[in-house]
């Protein structure tokens, strides 16, 4: 109970901070829209490739940009704790009886809310550009849920790195190193049927692709709920493992100071 209450307090702190940074919010919303417009225009004719499986590229692209945006928001999440570390705010909390997990859950919730707002805007603009889904509201809900479940493990991972490396440079390097390959080793921009075998194999182990597959399945005319359930379940497992890892990273941080 105390743990949940503490997580709630820390979430409140991060959301209040988020609400006070309108420019940051504007940029996080603008960026995915730029991807949507540029990729949408650049690869428009891709849907003409035999075996593409969809006759509208924007319909195919919108879930891809949505999941990519959630991933990018997540991998940068450790910046919050890094900043708290620099300001001394983290140490102030660590000498109180606060539940350590709350110090990770707060920023993750922050990332999740950012991703949620992004998802709404991306879907809205995607629809305006002509994206259309047979899976309806249920499909959209599953896709957004999947992207939030993707946010948790990568945000936790990002926090664990921040606590262990304690350096912005390492964070920036790792965020790019992780986010870009994972984005493109998945079916975000191109159906995997058209990708070489090794990419298809890599995608099987890629949480980004699990989220995409769950979402795309739910958005289809006749979703296979078993496929969706397994993907979401895997994301929950990975999220739990990485959350535990990030929480235990406080011990390594405290040993080092």
């Amino acid at each position: 109970m105390t743990a949940i209450a503490h997580a709630g307090y820390m979430t409140g702190r991060h959301l209040r901070a988020l609400a006070r940074q309108p420019w940051y919010i504007a940029f996080t919303l603008l960026q995915p829209l730029i991807y949507l417009l540029i990729f949408g225009a650049l690869f428009e004719k891709a849907s003409l490739i035999p075996g593409f499986g969809s006759d509208s590229y924007i319909t195919f692209l919108t879930p891809g940009v949505l999941v990519m945006s959630a991933l990018f928001t997540a991998v940068w999440n450790g910046m919050n704790i890094l900043e708290d570390m620099k300001r001394g705010t983290l140490d102030r909390f660590l000498v109180t009886p606060v539940w350590r997990g709350a110090l990770i859950a707060g920023p993750i919730a922050n990332a999740a809310v950012s991703s949620l707002v992004q998802a709404g805007v991306i879907f809205g603009v995607g629809t305006l550009l002509g994206a259309d889904y047979e899976g309806g509201i249920a499909g959209v809900t599953v896709l957004i849920l999947a992207s939030l479940l993707l946010t948790a493990p990568f945000a936790a991972f990002s926090n664990a790195v921040a606590l262990t490396a304690r350096q912005e440079e390492t964070m920036i390097g790792l965020a790019n190193f992780v986010a870009l390959p994972l984005t493109f080793l998945a079916s975000g921009f191109m159906p995997l049927d058209l990708a070489p075998n090794w990419i298809q194999t890599a995608a099987k182990f890629n949480p980004v692709n699990w989220a995409l597959e769950a979402g795309r399945e739910a958005l289809s005319a006749a979703p296979d709920w078993g496929v969706i359930g397994i993907r979401l379940g895997l994301l929950v497992v990975v999220g739990t493992v990485l959350f535990t890892l990030a929480t235990s990273a406080f011990r390594s941080y405290q040993r080092s100071i």
């Binding site: 307090y9 702190r13 940074q21 009886p97």
Partner: protein, 322 residues
């Protein structure tokens, strides 16, 4: 009857790269006193505070705070202590009131009790007007006051202040001292603070520990430490620094024990300093050593520091920056 509020025994800690931060540091703080750890940066003061406040762990040694074992029951200790770290721990994006409310909630306070306590602390630390402004708009002094208020939210028994006045203007420092004194008189708190300001240790602390190389080299009330040094302090500044060692040898024959060289100044202690000066000058003059200036004074805490560490605090600070 006095009770012990903080007891550190033989604390040792080495950081990676063989940096020895603490080398068997022991100290004991009595309930209801202001205890000052005095030393240059890098002496081990902050590491001691981090260990006593459960933030860090020693490689070996024991520590008790408010009667509770720091290593065995860190969460119990956390409930009994307030910590104001070096620099500021304030969340700059949140308002003063939000900072305080969150801090209180973490200790399990809520509702009416929490609101009243927050208002009371805002009032007491003169932040009521600024309460609903983001803390990043606060001045250095206001931030520091908010830091102390944060450390006080749960009415702790022991308050740790790491370099509470570093970087503050002189008037603001005097104001802080007054505030810290009142924490002890009005709230019955025990305060353990660190400082590298000689005057702060001298005027604010009831007892002082001089920390050097990760150990306490002297501990006691400032007055007692000073009167342990016999006689008056005589500082002789030489015209040529090369003559310092020769001057020391000559002086140690005519003065009390403990003549030391500090750059081009020779520090000596003499019973009846004023009468001894002519004799000292004649002796030096006879040896062909020219003197630029002489001062005679009651021993200061700086002399105590010099006596125990072999260098002045100012020189130690400079050495640290190299």
């Amino acid at each position: 009857m006095t009770a012990t509020a903080v007891q550190a025994t033989e604390l040792r800690k080495t950081y990676p790269g063989d940096v020895k931060a603490l080398d068997g540091l022991s100290l004991s703080v009595e309930k209801g006193e202001i205890f000052g750890m005095l030393g240059p940066n890098g002496a081990g003061k902050s590491t001691t505070i981090r260990i006593l406040t459960t933030l860090s762990r020693p490689d070996s040694g024991k520590a008790k705070v408010a009667g509770v074992d720091v290593l065995a029951s860190p969460d119990d200790v956390r409930r009994r202590i307030g910590v104001v770290a070096q620099g500021s721990g304030v969340d700059p994006v949140a308002t003063g009131r939000e900072n305080l409310a969150l801090q209180g909630r973490v200790y399990g306070m809520r509702g009416q009790t929490l609101r009243r306590r927050v208002d009371e602390l805002l009032e007491r630390f003169r932040l009521t007007k600024a309460a609903d402004r983001p803390a990043q708009t606060y001045s250095g002094g206001m931030k520091r006051r908010l830091d102390i208020a944060l450390g006080m939210i749960h009415s702790p028994q022991v308050l740790f202040l790491d370099e509470p006045t570093t970087g503050l203007d002189p008037e603001v420092r005097a104001d802080m001292w007054e505030m810290i004194r009142r924490l002890v008189t009005d709230d019955g708190l025990t305060v353990l603070l660190t400082t590298h300001y000689m005057d702060e240790a001298d005027r604010l602390a009831d007892r002082v520990a001089i920390v050097e190389g990760g150990r306490v080299v002297a501990e006691g009330a400032p007055e007692a430490l000073k009167s342990d040094l016999e006689g008056d302090a005589v500082h002789i500044e030489l015209a040529e620094p090369e003559a310092a060692d020769r001057a020391r040898d000559i002086l140690s024959q005519v003065t009390a024990n403990g003549t030391q060289v500090d750059g081009k100044t020779v520090r000596a202690r003499v019973r009846g300093g004023a009468e001894a000066v002519p004799r000292i000058l004649t002796t030096l003059d006879g040896a062909g050593i020219s003197v630029a200036s002489v001062t005679v004074s009651r021993p200061s805490l700086d002399d105590v520091y010099f006596r125990h560490t072999g260098r002045s605090l100012a020189a130690a600070e400079e050495g640290e920056e190299k």
